[in-house]
Amino acid sequence: MRARTLVLGCLLALCACTHDSGVTTIRFMAMGREAEVVSDLVAQFEHENPGVRVDVQQIPWTAAHEKLLTAFAADALPDICQLGNTWLPEFSALDSLEPLQPYVDASSTVDPRDYFPGIWDTNVIGGKLYGIPWYVDTRLLFYRRDLLAQAGFDRAPTSWPEWEQQMAAIKAHGHYGVMMPLNEFEQLLSFGLQQSDPLLRDDGTRGNFESAGFRRALAFYARLFAQGWAPPMSKTQISNVWDEFFNGLFVFYVSGPWNIREFRQRAPHGLEDSWATAPLPGPDGLGAGIAGGTSLVMFRSSQHKTQTWRFIEFLSRPEIQERFHAEIGDPPPRRSTWKLSGLVHDAYAAAFRDQLERVKPTPKVLEWERIVQEMRLVSERVVRGGEPQDQAVHELDARVDAILEKRRWMHERDQRVAGSL
C-alpha cells in the first residue's frame, strides 16, 4: 500500500515538473496545532491567488528540530516554515535561510515599525533579517488578586524591592509568595535579561555570567528560595499547578500567555475574578521579559520565492493574524492586530501587551539552548544544593566558554582571513 502511494507520489511529482499547468505549489511546514489552524486560512489565500497552492505539512513540535535538520542534510527543505525564534541562529548558521530585507522594503503589508521591536530584533542575525514574526510569547506574572489584597496590597509589584515586600507579607499569611519550578529556566533568564550586562560577551564567544548584572539576577532568584518565599519544587513535584494556584499554595506564578485560557477554564466557582496578570517587575521599575515566539522563514532552496513571500505577507496581514490568534490564543506580534482584535481591552492580555514593549532577545548563538540549560543546572545547584553563588557563576562561565570553543575558533579564523585580505 505504502509502496503504491510512493510510486503514485513520484508520478505526480513528475507530472508537476513536466507539465507546466500554471499552478505553483509551495510547501509549508507547520507544527502541532498551528498547522491545523493555518489550513483554514490557506483556502482564502488560494482563492486570492488562483495560481498558487499551499501544501501544509504538519509535524509535531517534539520531532520538528530533528525533522528540519535531516531535511536540510537531505536537501529537502520546504519553501516556508515556522521556526521558534531561538532556532533562527542555528538555521542561519547553516546558511539555509533567505534574507528578507529586500522583500520587506518592497512590501506594503509588512511594516517593521508596527511590530514590537524586541520581537523583530530576534529575527535579525549579524545585521540581516531572516524571519517575520508570526506570534509571540513571553513570561510575566499571574497572581491571586484576593490573596494579595489579604496581605495588604491592592496592586501587583512594579519593582523587585516592592515584590519582596509583598512576598514577605504573603508568607506571614501562610502562603508561598511565588511558584518558580526549578526545572524551568525562563524565570532566572528573565531576571538576567533585565540587567544591562549582556549574557555573552566578545561577539557571543564567551560567557558573561560573572558580570555584576547576572550576579544580581542570580542573587535575587536565590533569595526568593532562601527566604522561603518560593518553594524549591520542580514541575513533577506539583501535581497540578492550576489547582494549587486556586488552592492558594502560592500567590504569584511566572508563566506564559497560554495560561490565560487555562486559568479561565479552570478557575473554580467563586474564584473566577480572583486572579490577574501583571508585567514582570525589574530591579528598579518594570523590567524586561524574554522575546519569545515563532517566526515565518523562507528557505534559500525555495524555487518559488515570489509566491512564498506573498503567502508570508498574507499571514502577516492584521485581519488574518486576528483570525489566527482567535483560534490559537498566542498573542500577535503587530500592534495593529492588537488594536483590531480588541485584545487591548482584554484585562488579562493587557499585561502582555505592556510587557511586549519591553522584551529582549536572548543571545543569538546556536549554542544558546545548551547554555541556558547549563544556567538552569547551576541555579538548581545553588537553590537545592546550597552552592555558593560566586563559585556557581565562575563554573557557569567556564562551562559556557567550553561550549563556545568552536564558535571562538571559527570567529578567530574568519577574522584572520578577513585581516589577510
Binding site: 530533528e66 547553516l94 526545572n183 520542580s234 513535584q237 546556536l366 543546572l377 568552536k406
Partner: protein, 292 residues
C-alpha cells in the same frame, strides 16, 4: 573447498546486509568519534576538525559523563541481581508441584515483557505519583510517609529500577523455568532420602544445576541493563538533578539534542568497551567455575 564456497554463497546475502547496514555505520561512527562533527560542520565541511582522541579525553573530564556512568552502574548493580532474583523466585514458584493454573500465571508474569515501554511507563508514572499514586497509598497503610519518587534525587533511580525489573523479569523467568525443568527429578529424590531440607536441596542441587543457564541470563541481562534509555526518557527526562541520566541518555542528548555527533559517537564506543569488559569479566568468572 567447493563446499566452503557454497557456504559463503549462502551466507552472502546476510553478510552483505550486515556489512552495509551494520558494519559501515559502525566504522563511520568510529571515524566520526575522532572528529568534532557538529552543526557547523554540517553547514560547511571546512568547519570540521580532526580531533584525535580529544572527544574521549574530554568525556573523561566531563562531570555529567561520570555521573551518567555512576547512575548506569547503580542501575546495573542493583537492577541485575534484583531482576535475576525475582525471575528465579517466580520460576521456582511456577515450577513448584503445588502450583495451580501454571499456564495462566506464566502468561501473566510474562505479559509485561511484551508490553510497550512507553505505554506502561506512563502508567507507572501514575503509580509513583507523590500524592495520588498507588505506591504511596500502599506505603501510607504501612505507616510510611509519602515518598517523592520522581522529585527526590535519592528515589528516582530506585523507582526506575523497580519499573525495569517488573518490565523485564518475565523474560529471564521463562529461560530459568526451562532450566529448572531440565534438572532430573531423581537428584531431588536422592537428596530427600538423605534427609536434605528444601533449602539445602536448593543450594546444592538447583543452583549448581542452573549454573550455565544463570550464566547466560546474567550476560544477557547485564548487556541489556547497561543500555538503559527508554525508561528515564519517558519517566524522568534525566531529572531530578540528573540522577537518572544514563550513559545512553547522555549520548542521545549529545547527538540528537545538541548535534555533537563526534562526541556522541565517542560515548557509544566507550559504552561498548564497558559492556565488553563487564561481560568478559563475567565469562571469565564462569569459566573458572566451570559453568561454561
Amino acid at each position: 573447498m567447493k563446499s566452503t564456497r557454497i557456504g559463503w554463497l549462502f551466507a552472502s546475502p546476510a553478510l552483505i546486509v550486515l556489512g552495509l547496514f551494520f558494519g559501515v555505520p559502525v566504522l563511520a561512527a568510529f571515524g566520526l568519534s575522532f572528529t568534532d562533527f557538529d552543526l557547523y560542520a554540517l553547514a560547511d565541511l571546512r568547519n570540521l576538525r580532526f580531533a584525535g582522541v580529544n572527544n574521549y579525553t574530554d568525556l573523561l573530564q566531563t562531570p555529567l559523563f561520570w555521573k551518567s556512568l555512576a547512575n548506569t552502574f547503580y542501575f546495573v548493580g542493583v537492577g541485575v541481581p534484583l531482576s535475576i532474583a525475582v525471575s528465579l523466585g517466580a520460576a521456582l514458584l511456577l515450577h513448584a508441584p503445588a502450583a495451580r493454573a501454571k499456564g495462566l500465571f506464566r502468561t501473566a508474569l510474562f505479559a509485561p515483557v511484551v508490553t510497550t515501554v512507553v505505554a506502561v511507563a506512563v502508567i507507572w508514572k501514575y503509580l509513583f505519583h507523590t500524592s495520588y499514586g498507588l505506591v504511596n497509598w500502599a506505603l501510607a497503610h504501612l505507616g510510611v510517609a509519602p515518598v517523592d519518587w520522581f522529585g527526590d534525587a535519592h528515589w528516582a533511580m530506585p523507582a526506575i529500577i523497580l519499573f525495569a525489573v517488573w518490565k523485564n523479569f518475565g523474560y529471564n523467568m521463562v529461560i530459568l523455568l526451562a532450566g529448572l525443568q531440565g534438572i532430573p527429578q531423581d537428584l531431588y529424590e536422592a537428596a530427600r532420602i538423605d534427609g536434605a531440607s528444601r533449602w539445602r536441596q536448593f543450594l546444592h542441587i538447583t543452583l549448581p544445576m542452573l549454573g550455565p543457564v544463570l550464566m547466560v541470563v546474567g550476560v544477557i541481562t547485564i548487556s541489556g541493563y547497561f543500555q538503559l534509555f527508554a525508561e528515564p526518557y519517558v519517566m524522568t527526562q534525566g531529572e531530578p538533578l540528573q540522577s537518572t541520566v544514563s550513559v545512553l541518555y547522555f549520548m542521545f542528548d549529545e547527538g540528537f539534542k545538541w548535534w555533537n555527533l563526534g562526541r556522541a559517537s565517542a560515548v557509544a564506543f566507550l559504552l561498548f568497551a564497558i559492556i565488553l569488559g563487564a561481560t568478559a569479566l563475567l565469562l571469565r568468572f564462569g569459566r573458572k567455575r566451570d559453568l561454561l
